[in-house]
């Protein structure tokens, strides 16, 4: 199976909130102290989904990442896990976009890659959380898409996907080529072996500029935005805490139950 996985380099979403502040002039999050870069966690799971299919059926995995200042020790990680090739859309013209202009560039790169059976994306990026790039890519390329997947299996030229729903999951069959977005329910991602890590040294990333993938400059990055961020802010959370008391644990529990009925929660 020829697979493509799109990954995004983001500031570590696990960093404490105090590490960031909002720049009101540009409506962006700016790190205050040194925050490390990582691959967006859902994208790591997208890589894992592709690796599982490669383990089972063999094939080739191509990783594509769009951004600037892409740290090699971050974006090469999928190579150390077993991906075969890394393509970087590394150019200022590509960035500052919204889901649509980003997807447009990624789709153009995918077209240039050529033959593929599956495209994997994380369900949403850990910084912007829009959750639309995958869907937009599928739309541009005219592919069927299954979103929020927790399991993907290649079966007789088709793909069987367990798709997460609010109260469980449904099993979807889709012909290839198709695009799947992966959710965290996929499970644990693997760790790289020492040999795998060292072998990634030989796989030099391929760098593509806008001219290489034949995109219209007006449609990529900041230039190609169809949405405008009006305001970015941290909502103020105010919480009141009422301790429910009682003579003992059972009594307190009974009082809590009464209270919950009172406020019509149960």
């Amino acid at each position: 199976m020829n697979m493509i996985v799109c990954i995004k380099q983001v500031l570590d979403p696990e960093a404490p909130l105090s590490s960031f502040k909002i720049d009101p002039a540009t409506n962006t999050m700016v790190p205050v102290t040194a925050v490390p870069f990582v691959i967006s966690p859902f994208d790591e799971q997208a890589v894992e989904a592709a690796l599982r299919i490669k383990d089972a059926k063999g094939g080739k995995i191509t990783i594509i990442s769009l951004g600037v200042n892409l740290l090699r020790d971050v974006v090469k990680k999928p190579l150390s896990l077993g991906a075969d090739e890394l393509i970087l859309l590394e150019d200022p013209a590509f960035i500052g976009g919204d889901s649509w202009s980003t997807a447009y560039a990624l789709a153009a790169a995918i077209k240039k890659v050529g033959q593929f059976d599956l495209i994997f994306c994380g369900r949403q990026a850990a910084d912007s959380d829009s959750g639309q790039v995958g869907a937009c890519i599928a739309e541009i390329l005219g592919l069927p898409q299954v979103t929020v997947a927790k399991k993907v299996e290649a079966v007789d030229g088709k793909v069987k996907v367990d798709k997460v729903t609010t109260d469980g999951y449904e099993v979807v069959e889709v012909p290839t080529p198709a695009l799947i977005t992966i959710s965290n329910e996929l499970g644990e991602v693997r760790f790289a072996t020492f040999k795998g890590t060292m072998a990634s040294k030989k796989k030099e990333p391929i760098i593509w500029k806008p001219a290489d993938i034949g995109v219209d400059p007006a449609k990529i990055g900041a230039a190609g935005r169809r949405t405008k961020t009006r305001k970015l802010f941290q909502p103020v959370r105010d919480s009141k805490c009422e301790i429910i008391k009682g003579e003992n644990d059972e009594d307190a529990a009974a009082n809590l139950a009464k209270k919950l009925v009172e406020v019509k929660l149960i």
Binding site: D73, T193, F194
Partner: protein, 377 residues
């Protein structure tokens, strides 16, 4: 000059950090301090599967062909995680000694099993005399036809209680110098006459008394040349010390971060205690201290990897790192105050390991003396 790891080493280091965060939580570390074996089998197996146990060994012995700088990238993370288990004794002390001095047969027999996680090995060097000098080796090995009879007591032997083999450094001859007449024997732990008693230690590391009561060992089990083991042993220890320093660097760095994190969060007198200049000073001093031992260790490792003379560099790294790690963890306790003083806290893990690391294979005083000799004094 380049003070950082390359991309692949950074990936290895970051991957190791994430692995240990998941597989080696502090709760496990604390549990292992009380555990007699001290080596969680699942963790050891996973490390083997990732190729970390054989990282430093050549591929033909089942290893990963890694170099010492790859190794110290991993060691820093092991120190940060306070990794329990016999990596030091098996992979470094015992394994590296066999790699550098063993026969082809011994290497083929032992090293792949270490790499695959199937064999635990240690090296019995120190004795009740508590000294790293050659003159302290008194456990004797007397030749008897095709065998040797080893008799005497080794003390502070790491992980002997779970080892499959013990490399015993014994005196086979009285030479003109104390360094002469010392031989290394690969002894099956199950040999009749061996008694292993686990000691209770500060850092929960598994140090043992190993009594050799007329233990018979075939002369085929000599590692390297008979009567000439001391020099090669010291050579091996140079590499082991670099790795050990890197482990301590990782621990010191983490202790510093814990202290700084606490200082930012802890509110007293209506402000974070980290806003008091006195705390600034404690943290700044520790930052300088940790960077010093980091760079001394890095430079020693780089020179070693280039085959350049590095006796001075290793002495400096070992002297500084042990003392800096101890200073940093002690500072950490001062900053954390009461909350760091119960067993629930983590700082004491670093505090304990800093001390045992400082004392193992020679402390600051020992290595300053080594440096003084290197400076021609």
């Amino acid at each position: 000059m380049d003070f950082d790891y390359n991309d692949e080493q950074k990936m290895l280091k970051q991957g190791a950090r994430e692995f240990f965060e998941k597989e080696c939580p502090k709760s496990l570390v604390k549990q292992m301090m009380e555990d007699e074996k001290g080596n969680p089998p699942e963790l050891w197996k996973k490390m083997a599967q990732l190729g970390w146990l054989g990282l430093i060994y050549p591929e033909k012995y089942g290893g990963g062909d890694g170099n010492i700088i790859d190794l110290i990238a991993l060691e820093e993370e092991m120190g940060r995680a306070c990794l329990p288990g016999p990596f030091f004794s098996t992979v470094l002390l015992g394994g590296l000694f066999i790699l550098h001095n063993g026969s082809e047969e011994q290497k083929k027999e032992i090293l792949p099993k270490i790499a695959s996680g199937q064999l635990i090995l240690t090296l019995a060097l120190t004795e009740p005399s508590d000294s790293y000098e050659a003159s302290a080796i008194s456990v004797g090995a007397k030749a008897e036809k095709d065998d040797y009879i080893i008799d005497g007591t080794k003390l502070f032997v790491p992980d002997a209680q779970i080892a499959d083999y013990i490399i015993c450094i014994a005196r086979t001859k009285k030479g003109t110098k104390p360094e002469d007449g010392i031989t290394a024997f690969l002894v099956d732990r199950k040999s009749p006459g061996i008694t292993v008693t686990l000691l209770k230690t500060l850092a929960g590391d598994k140090l043992c008394e190993v009594i050799f009561n007329k233990v018979k060992v075939s002369k085929k089990n000599i590692i390297g040349k008979p009567d000439q083991a001391w020099g090669p042993l010291q050579e091996t220890l140079q590499q082991v010390k670099i790795a050990q320093c890197a482990e301590m660097v990782g621990g010191a760095q983490r202790a510093l971060e814990l202290a700084a994190d606490h200082a930012k969060k802890r509110i007293q007198f209506d402000r974070p205690i980290g806003s008091f200049p006195v705390i600034h000073h404690l943290i700044a001093n520790a930052m300088m201290d940790v960077d010093a031992c980091k760079f001394l260790t890095y430079e020693a490792a780089w020179k070693y990897s280039e085959g350049l003379p590095c006796a001075k560099e290793i002495a400096m790294a070992k002297a500084w790192t042990g003392e800096a790690y101890q200073r940093t963890a002690a500072m950490g306790h001062q900053v954390l105050g009461g909350i760091g003083y119960t067993m629930d806290g983590d700082m004491h893990l670093y505090f304990r390991r800093a001390k045992s690391g400082e004392l193992t294979l020679g402390d600051g005083k020992f290595h300053r003396e080594v440096l003084a000799k290197e400076l021609g004094m």
